[in-house]
């Protein structure tokens, strides 16, 4: 899928007009909160962390604690599952669990 990165290589689900578009399958199926907790450094580019350490691309790494992103993604997937079950029940299909 296409995502957008700002000048600090932080990922965004939508473009505010100042971002670059990149294509990656890393975030396929991921919710907005998950995407926006990551940095994506394209191959051939580099990012300098605040402590001076330099990282070259292609690198995909979380800048927020992964536990928060994982929790948001699980909640998103639970919501997707609930929506699907509701839609199936409207069609008369009973879903267990």
């Amino acid at each position: 899928m296409n995502i957008y990165i700002d000048s600090d290589f932080k990922c965004h689900a939508s473009n505010d007009g100042m971002m670059r578009e990149v294509q990656t399958d890393f975030f396929d199926g991921k919710c907005q909160t998950f995407i926006e907790g990551y940095r994506f450094v394209p191959a051939g580019e580099s990012w300098t962390r605040e402590d001076g350490e330099v990282f070259t691309g292609e690198m995909v790494a979380p800048w927020k604690p992964y536990e928060e992103l994982d929790a948001a993604q699980r909640e998103y997937e639970h919501g997707q599952l609930a929506d699907m079950k509701a839609a199936l029940e409207l069609l008369g299909v009973t879903v267990d669990g």
Binding site: D25, F26, D28, G29, R39, A43, W47, R49, E53, V54, F55, T56, G57, E58, M59, V60, A61, P62, W63, K64, P65, Y66, E67, D70
Partner: protein
């Protein structure tokens, strides 16, 4: 008169009689015959037909002695008694009106009483009591009041002196009572050996309080004892002398370029306070190792790392100095410049070792486990100071994971580094390493938490943020190469 005429007359009279019977409520039928007339007359009802009553009265509905006919035609005599004002009785606040008929308005008076006047008393404990004794009876609206003037004490200011001063008891305070205090009543202003109002003196005769502060040129200095504040700026000499208004406990803060350092000092004598370059170093390295610390080549102490490979040391006077940390097989050196942060993390991991919680790689059966891609094999060999992992065949795609029995806690780390060497057969940029959320051979590409591609020998770094465990870090080669070390910093 003819016979026919007479017959007609008689017929008409008989018909009229029958019709009169019907008119009177009797029963008759044609032909109107003479012989039927007697029977018809017998059917005429005797007396007046009364109307049907929808709500008939009874004896209790009429005055005593009055008579009427009820719905059944029976005579009924009324029972309602006639009453007058003389029948009313009063007791306390209650007036009783007996049941009956009153031809006109009836009234009865109740007893009256005078409203009592309260009396007010004040006990020695300051309890104010108001009391009134009221006699029984109706009391008309009104107000009764009483007063009792207390002895008062207005606002005043009392300045302590050599003799006790008192406020008399039994008085109502109409204003604020102020007992004067004095900011100079501190130990530093009182001669040593003398106590004033419980404050023991600490001043040595002939001395005044002063602070000589050492800090970076340009540092803003603030000294405060909670009530007074003295400020200044450190000059090119690197020192600042502050004359204090009093001895005692002073908190001194130095600020430069947004970095702040504080120290609390009990000023008894002229006291030097060196706030330049005070830094706490957090040291990460091999478990149980002792790290030697040098400041500009001079020993500044040691750091004993715990079982998790961490320890700390606080050093002062680091500004402009080179601080060096020396471990068993490697070292870390850093020059401290003006405005350095006061907390620095230092990594002194031995070269080539794989560290988890500061523990060295122990054994692939006891700790690290190689989980090769099912289509390829991989060997995992521990050398003295590093681990070598090599694929047995040239791999165009695949994944080799190095897993551990229990999840790692990566809260102390934010960087994963690998050193790749020993003839990487390709410069393909599709080689990848990183950390994943779990081990699942059917779903690996979707389980990366963080990943980094590389295509050459040397050191490669990956940044991440996490605080809980991941069971696996993985290296995904698309060519054959060796991994000299995997380090978390």
């Amino acid at each position: 008169m003819s016979v026919q005429t007479e017959i007609n007359r008689i017929i008409a009279a008989v018909s009229a009689a029958h019709e009169k019977v019907s008119e009177k409520g009797g029963t008759t039928a044609r032909p109107y015959l003479v012989e039927n007339l007697e029977g018809a007359i017998d059917t005429i009802p005797i007396g007046v037909q009364l109307p049907t009553l929808a709500n008939p009265g009874k004896a209790s509905d009429a005055l005593s002695g009055k008579e009427f006919i009820d719905g059944s035609g029976n005579k009924v005599t009324g029972t309602i008694a006639t009453k007058a004002a003389s029948n009313l009785t009063a007791s306390g606040a209650t007036v009783t009106v007996p049941a009956g008929y009153y031809a006109s308005q009836a009234a009865k008076s109740v007893a009256t009483a005078t409203q009592a006047t309260p009396s007010i008393s004040v006990s020695s404990a300051g309890l104010i009591t108001a009391s009134a004794t009221q006699s029984a009876g109706y009391v008309t609206a009104g107000t009764k009041s009483a007063t009792n003037q207390l002895t008062t004490q207005g606002a005043q200011t009392i300045t302590p002196g050599t003799a006790d001063k008192t406020i008399a008891s039994g008085r109502y305070l109409t204003g604020t009572q102020t007992i004067k205090g004095d900011l100079n009543l501190v130990a530093g202003n009182i001669k040593s050996g003398v106590s004033i109002f419980g404050v023991a003196g600490s001043m040595k005769p002939g001395e005044s309080p002063r602070l000589i502060i050492t800090a970076q040129n340009g540092s803003s200095i603030t000294a405060t004892n909670g009530t007074e504040t003295v400020t200044g700026v450190v000059g090119s000499s690197g020192t600042l002398t502050l004359d204090l208004p009093a001895f005692g406990t002073w908190t001194v803060t130095a600020t430069l370029s947004g970095t702040t350092t504080s120290k609390t000092i009990d000023v008894i004598y002229e006291f030097p306070a060196d706030l330049s370059g005070s830094i706490t170093f957090t040291v990460n390295g091999g478990h149980g190792e002792t790290i030697r610390v040098y400041k500009d080549g001079v020993s500044a102490g040691t750091v004993a790392l715990n079982a998790e490979g961490t320890g700390s040391i606080h050093l002062t006077g680091c500004s402009g100095k080179t601080i060096r940390f020396v471990g068993a097989t490697s070292g870390y050196e850093r020059s401290i410049s003006a405005g350095s942060e006061n907390q620095i993390s230092v990594n002194v991991f031995p070269d080539g070792a794989i560290y988890w919680y500061g523990r060295e790689f122990v054994d692939k059966t006891g700790g690290w486990v190689a989980k090769p891609n099912e289509s390829y094999t991989a060997t995992l060999t521990k050398q003295q100071n590093y681990m070598v992992m090599q694929s047995t065949a040239s791999i165009s795609s695949g994944l080799v994971g190095i897993g551990i029995a229990n999840a790692m806690n990566l809260s102390k780390y934010k960087t994963m580094k690998i050193k790749v060497g020993n003839n990487p057969a390709s410069t393909s940029t599709q080689n990848k390493f990183g950390i994943t959320s779990k081990y699942d051979t059917s779903n690996w590409p979707n389980l990366w938490v963080a990943s980094k591609t590389f295509g050459a020998a040397g050191e490669h770094s990956l940044s991440f943020s996490a605080s809980t465990g991941f069971p696996l870090f993985q290296i995904w080669p698309t060519s054959t190469f060796s991994i000299n070390s995997v380090v978390f910093e």
